[in-house]
């Protein structure tokens, strides 16, 4: 396959996502613009993870600066490197720490979104387990022993980790389910691994194990899972946590603090090399990091570890610290981006371009006249409208781009919705006032 060729499935996926105003899940390299240093830094990070190391990166950028895009891009690079990825958007129902099932819910979503290179759009958990079991099966056949004992032997080293014993049991149950044609048992094993069991009793009846993956264990289980992946032949696990700002928005100071404590634990493990083959990629807005009342900087232990390198000012950027700041896009970036979208639209064929560079410029001018700088600062709508424009041009070959560009309706992106956040299940809401008092004292 030629490097410029774009497979139709990838092309359609990109266009469809851009049209809907979301970051595509695949094919991102075709529309990546700039950020060379950042990408290089991330590649070094990923190599370290693949080399049984760990990483912790906090991607910080304004609304519209492309955090999610960057996260997804790194995710696809990770997949190329034989890493497995899991991603999730945090929201009030999905947190790192909780007592009401919200952390389990985060883990569940991570496992649902588990992706490998060959299943880049999620749902790879059974594939990963089966790949592990398959290789155990091959070994068993070679050695003339029972597959289940090979499965257990291989998982032996996990049983010393938190939750490892039952984890091994459950993987063995998956194999048994396959062997007996017992779909239910297989299904239950997958459900357990996805943290979908909410009570121990149910887990015991379904699988004969005593424990479940619960709120207080999700990080331990991620560590465990990363090790398991290495046993299954992958290089490790990269966990992407997007929309971290939702932790910042938690109204209960106590809930916020316990989530930040969990982050600190992850960060410490990573800095001290306790996590094997496990990387964390987080993204958040500047206030999530810097706000000294509610942000990460409100928690001293985190602040001291995340503080910016003081030498990194005035355009000199240090990409070795755990925090990576994404600059906003400029008009030039957008121009290149639109060019790439045009290229994707044409399936990678130059002769099929629907408009020349002049067209891009005049489109940008039109947007600029309509909504000002927002057209490149928060380019979501600009991009969506550009894709729509190309679609119209494609469907109506007789129409000239000059006639259309001026008619495009583009609106400024209003930014994140303030509404619709539900605080249900926030049992410690009542303590809000007290906690905030305490928080301000600490500072």
């Amino acid at each position: 396959m030629s490097p410029s060729g774009i497979r139709p499935r990838v092309r359609d996926a990109i266009i469809q996502s851009l049209r809907a105003g979301v970051v595509p899940g695949i094919g991102l390299r075709h529309i990546q613009v700039g950020r060379r240093d950042e990408v290089e830094a991330m590649i070094r990070d990923l190599d370290r993870v693949a080399d049984a190391g760990s990483t912790f990166r906090l991607i910080v950028g304004e609304y519209g600066s492309g955090k999610t895009f960057f996260l997804n891009l790194v995710r696809t690079i990770a997949l190329e490197k034989g890493l497995v990825t899991a991603h999730v958007d945090l929201n009030p129902d999905r947190r790192l720490h909780a007592t009401g099932g919200q952390a389990r819910s985060l883990y569940r979503e991570l496992m649902r979104n588990l992706s490998t290179r060959t299943r880049s759009d999620g749902g790879a958990l059974p594939s990963v387990v089966e790949r592990f079991v398959s290789s155990a099966l091959a070994e068993a056949r070679q050695q003339g022993v029972g597959p289940e004992s090979v499965v257990r032997d291989r998982l032996q080293q996990l049983t010393e980790m938190v939750g490892g014993y039952d984890f091994a049991e459950v993987v063995a149950a998956y194999w048994r389910g396959h062997d007996l044609g017992d779909e239910e048992l297989k299904g239950n094993a997958v459900r357990w691994l996805r943290a979908e069991f909410s009570t121990r009793t149910d887990a015991r009846a379904a699988l004969g194990v005593r424990t479940i993956i619960d709120d207080d264990q999700i990080y331990d289980h991620l560590k465990l899972f990363a090790r398991f992946l290495r046993l299954a032949g992958y290089s490790g696990l990269v966990v992407c946590l997007d929309e971290m700002v939702n932790l910042y928005k938690l109204s209960s100071g106590r809930a916020r603090k316990s989530n930040y404590e969990q982050l600190l634990r992850i960060l410490n493990d990573s800095l001290q090399g306790h996590a094997v083959g496990l990387g964390f990629l987080l993204s958040g807005t500047p206030e999530f990091l810097f706000d000294t009342r509610k942000g990460l900087y409100s928690y001293e232990a985190l602040e001291s570890r995340l503080t910016q390198n003081t030498f990194a000012v005035d355009g000199l950027v240090d990409h070795r610290g755990p925090v990576m700041q994404l600059e906003n896009l400029g008009p030039e970036d957008l121009f290149v981006l639109l060019g790439k979208i045009r290229h994707v639209f044409a399936g990678g064929e130059r002769q099929s371009y629907l408009m020349p560079d002049d067209g891009l410029v005049s489109f940008m001018r039109h947007c600029s006249e309509t909504i000002g700088d927002a057209y490149f600062r928060t380019p979501r709508n600009t991009v969506t409208q550009f894709v729509n424009l190309l679609s119209v041009l494609e469907q109506n070959p007789g129409v000239a781009w000059q006639d259309l560009v001026g008619q495009v309706q583009v609106e400024a992106d209003p930014g994140p919705e303030a509404e619709g956040l539900e605080a249900e299940g926030d049992s410690d809401d009542a303590d809000e006032a007290d906690d905030d008092e305490l928080a301000s004292f600490r500072l």
Binding site: R141, R176, R204, Q407, E422
Partner: protein, 809 residues
């Protein structure tokens, strides 16, 4: 085209346009202008330049059709107190581009519903069309696309019935004569030919849209026609609803007009209606209006969402996707969803209403009507809520997972949905409603055997006769597992059960059938596995003296149960397992192999336990010693240690002179009681068990138990279910980066460009591979080698034959 008089509505139109434009938001105005300009440019380009002429006198106004059967009374309500309605009609400012068209009162060219009209030789029944020389589109720069100009040429001899010359936005004027005749033909035939190209339907629909959305503002007759026009839209939707975009437009127009005309109350109707059926295939970029309206009503009233509405919300939401199982068995999916939803949420999820008001906007299909047609209702807009939708989506996902095994069976055996192995895959709530003759006769046999009791023994032949199997005299492991599953869903258990380490059913054997309680386990815990193995060994010992002492057995069993902390469900099963051991004693067969895997420490534990069991009746006879010696040998322990253990038992904690507390007195366990046979020995002889050893046993039992499934499985391998094994001779066929099994699979896949999921699974199975794992491994290797996947898609999988070639080369 020279007579182009100014329509009577010109002044009012401009006035209205000015007001409306002022009231429009900047973005929307630009949107409207932009789109209109675009259409205008296209239309003008198509038609060439035309002289602009304005005239203050009404001139030719098209034919005046005879009006029949149109109600003139207007019953609609416009503003209910809590509803704000804004009409935005798109009009360009006159200075922007001068209109070349004369203004005609739309009423003058409109053929009202129920009227007939003869146009260029076609009798067009039913009205609802515009016929005339000219009619300005609401935007003002172009002509109404739906206007039938009788002066335009029509090619009657070559009607374009396939719609080959239709464009994306057809206009009657823009159609070539051949297409015009096909369109008129369709109208003349009553607008009902289901094979008609959708473009013709839309062309007609444009007119109705205009009448419903625009004309009503200046015509006194138009509002009264609403009801008739809407039912026409409904009729069209019933014929052309299979076209996703028509379905979307029409349902959205219906909902919009009904809300606008005030037919839609904000109060909660009693009883609350059922949702219409939504198809995931026809969902649009936002939730259908009716759904948002009804859900908004529920939220506003603080009422829980009924299951059917929750499902409709999910299915119709833009981000929804339904996997194969839900699409293959839609009715089952719906029923199971409703069931599970009620289990989780009782009467339903209660969602806190959000603040965003429901602004109902209709985006017309007609290119000339683009713009903002909206109504704002005092109801929350559920379209903005994500959290509840996520919850519903998770449930729908879980339900799909549950249904997946059955769906895949149906994929493999489309006409075998009622067969017993298929029913074994159905989730319990669906099984309860299933209608199957096979199931009826199966249940009859079971009920006859079990009667009112909790447990019974029966010949395996009875079951084998009912269960479809490849071999007549026994079930395979998988067939046996399937039988156990169906029984479990019917509330019954069977021993032996392959899922708990038993062997598959064979003919001429015995089986024990029993009722399962609540929360019965469907997989063995390590404790249970340990208990069943010890029980097995103990039975061998206990039956060695030729008679089974009921006392021995019961004590043993109770000890196992309490010492190993078995749950109630496990106890019931262990009872049944025990009954089976007595009914069909398995003997020493295969035991040695099973015991090999234990550590020395574990073996000692087992040995001591066995000695204690033998001494349970207060005496150990020579026959028992012989058997124990045999067990020691099996365990690989020195025979001498047996004698010292026996001595230890006799000398130390030997048979007690007083009853030993085995278990604290308490309410007797529910479940069966061992049939009261006349006893030779009084039950209160008591026995001595070294409880410390038992405790130790418990400690090691977890590890022990782990090994057990393994053991049983090896015993099973003897039964001949051997998976495909690639012999060493095949090494030549190994593909780089793959092992023998995957290489063989790759070669087999090369035979076809597509593989259904079930065929792929069968093939993987044949090569002894797990399907999802094999897919992963093959694709991974393909990426390494060719930077592209080998298999794509879900069901069926598409094989990239170029990649195959490259991998095999």
């Amino acid at each position: 085209m020279n007579d182009r008089p100014l329509g009577a509505g010109c002044v009012s139109l401009i006035g209205l346009g000015a007001i409306v434009l002022l009231s429009m938001e900047g973005g929307a105005r630009w949107a409207a202008l932009g789109l209109l300009a675009l259409v205008g440019v296209i239309l003008i380009a198509m038609r060439g330049s035309e002289p602009a002429k304005r005239d203050s006198q009404p001139g030719y106004q098209g034919p005046r059709p005879e009006v029949r059967g149109v109600s003139s009374s207007s019953t609609h309500r416009h503003d209910s107190p809590r509803t704000t309605i804004t009409y935005h009609v798109d009009l360009s400012p006159a200075s922007h581009r001068s209109s070349p068209r004369a203004q005609v009162d739309p009423d003058d060219v409109w053929v009202p519903p129920g009227s007939s009209m003869r146009v260029v030789g076609y009798d067009l029944p039913g009205g609802m069309i515009y016929v005339g020389r000219t009619l300005e589109a609401p935007g003002g720069w172009s002509e109404e696309p739906a206007l039938i100009d009788p002066k335009l040429a029509v090619d009657r001899n070559h009607p374009d019935r396939q719609g080959e010359h239709l464009t994306y936005w057809p206009t009657y004027r823009g159609l070539p004569p051949a297409s015009r005749s096909a369109y008129l033909e369709w109208l003349a035939e009553g607008r009902q030919d289901p094979a008609a190209p959708i473009g013709y339907v839309f062309l007609f629909y444009y007119g109705i849209e205009r009448r419903l959305l625009v004309d009503r503002e200046r015509s006194s007759r138009a509002p009264a026609e609403s009801v008739v026009l809407l039912s026409e839209v409904e009729r069209l939707a019933s014929i052309y609803g299979s076209n996703a975009s028509f379905a979307r437009c029409s349902s959205s127009l219906l909902a919009f007009c009904r809300l606008r005309d005030g037919d839609a109350s904000l109060e909660l109707p009693e009883p609350f209606p059922e949702p219409p059926e939504y198809l995931v295939e026809s969902r649009g970029s936002e939730l259908p209006l009716e759904l948002r309206y009804r859900l908004g009503q529920l939220l506003a009233a603080g009422r829980p969402l009924p299951a059917e509405w929750a499902l409709a919300w999910f299915v119709a939401s833009p981000g929804a996707s339904l996997r194969t199982a839900a699409r293959r068995c839609p009715e089952m999916f719906r029923r199971l969803f409703v069931h599970r939803y009620r289990e989780s949420y009782g009467k339903g999820l209660t969602v806190r209403p959000n603040r965003t008001r429901l602004k109902v906007t209709y985006w017309p299909a007609s290119p000339t009507l683009r713009g903002d047609h909206s109504v704002t209702l005092d109801l929350p807009d559920v379209g903005r809520l994500e959290a509840p939708l996520r919850k519903i989506g998770e449930l729908a996902d879980a339900v799909t997972d549950e249904l997946d095994p059955y769906s895949r069976w149906l994929g493999r055996n489309p006409d075998q949905g009622g067969a017993l192995p298929a029913l074994a895959l159905l989730p319990t709530p669906l099984l309860e409603e299933a209608e199957s003759r096979d199931l009826d006769s199966f249940l009859m046999v079971l009920n006859k055997s079990l009667g009112q009791g909790d447990r019974t023994e029966l010949g395996t032949d009875e079951l084998l006769a009912l269960w479809p199997s490849r071999k007549a005299d026994r079930l395979s492991k998988k067939e046996s597992a399937s039988l156990s599953q169906l029984l479990e869903k019917l509330g019954m258990g069977i021993e032996p059960d392959v899922r708990f380490g038993g062997s598959p059913l064979k003919s001429a054997g015995r089986a024990v059938l029993f009722s399962l309680g609540d929360k019965a386990p469907s997989a063995a815990s390590p404790d249970y596995s340990a208990a069943s193995l010890l029980l097995h060994l103990a039975t061998v010992v206990a039956t060695a003296d030729g008679e089974v002492s009921i006392a021995e057995e019961r004590h043993l069993q109770e000890h196992l149960e309490s010492a190993l902390h078995l749950g109630p469900g496990e106890r019931t099963r262990l009872d049944a397992h025990f009954a089976w051991l007595l009914a069909d004693p398995p003997g020493f067969a295969g035991l040695k192999k099973r015991l090999e895997v234990f550590t020395q420490e574990q073996r000692h534990g087992i040995a001591s336990f066995m000695v204690a069991v033998a001494g349970a009746d207060g005496r150990i006879d020579a026959e028992e010693v012989k058997i124990l010696a045999r067990i020691y040998e099996l365990l690989g322990l020195e025979p001498e240690s047996l004698y010292s253990d026996l001595h230890g038992l006799a000398a130390g904690s030997g048979p007690a002179t007083e009853p030993v507390t085995v278990r604290e007195a308490g309410p007797s366990r529910p479940g069966f009681a061992v049939p009261a046979k006349p006893r030779t020995d009084p039950p209160d002889t008591g026995f001595g068990l070294d409880m410390e050893r038992v405790a130790e046993l418990r400690r090691v039992s977890e590890e022990t138990g782990r090994l057990l499934a393994e053991l049983f499985q090896e015993a099973e391998a003897e039964a001949g279910d051997r998976p495909f094994v690639v012999s060493g001779d095949d090494v030549a066929g190994v593909v780089e980066g793959l092992d023998t099994g995957h290489s063989a699979l790759l070669r087999a896949l090369a035979a076809s460009e597509t593989w259904s999921r079930s065929d792929f699974e069968a093939l993987s199975d044949f090569f002894g591979l797990l399907p999802a794992g094999a897919l992963e491994t093959l694709n991974e290797a393909a990426f390494e080698r060719c930077d592209a996947p080998l298999l794509e898609g879900e069901d069926p999988y598409a094989v990239d034959l170029d990649v195959v070639q490259e991998m095999l080369s």
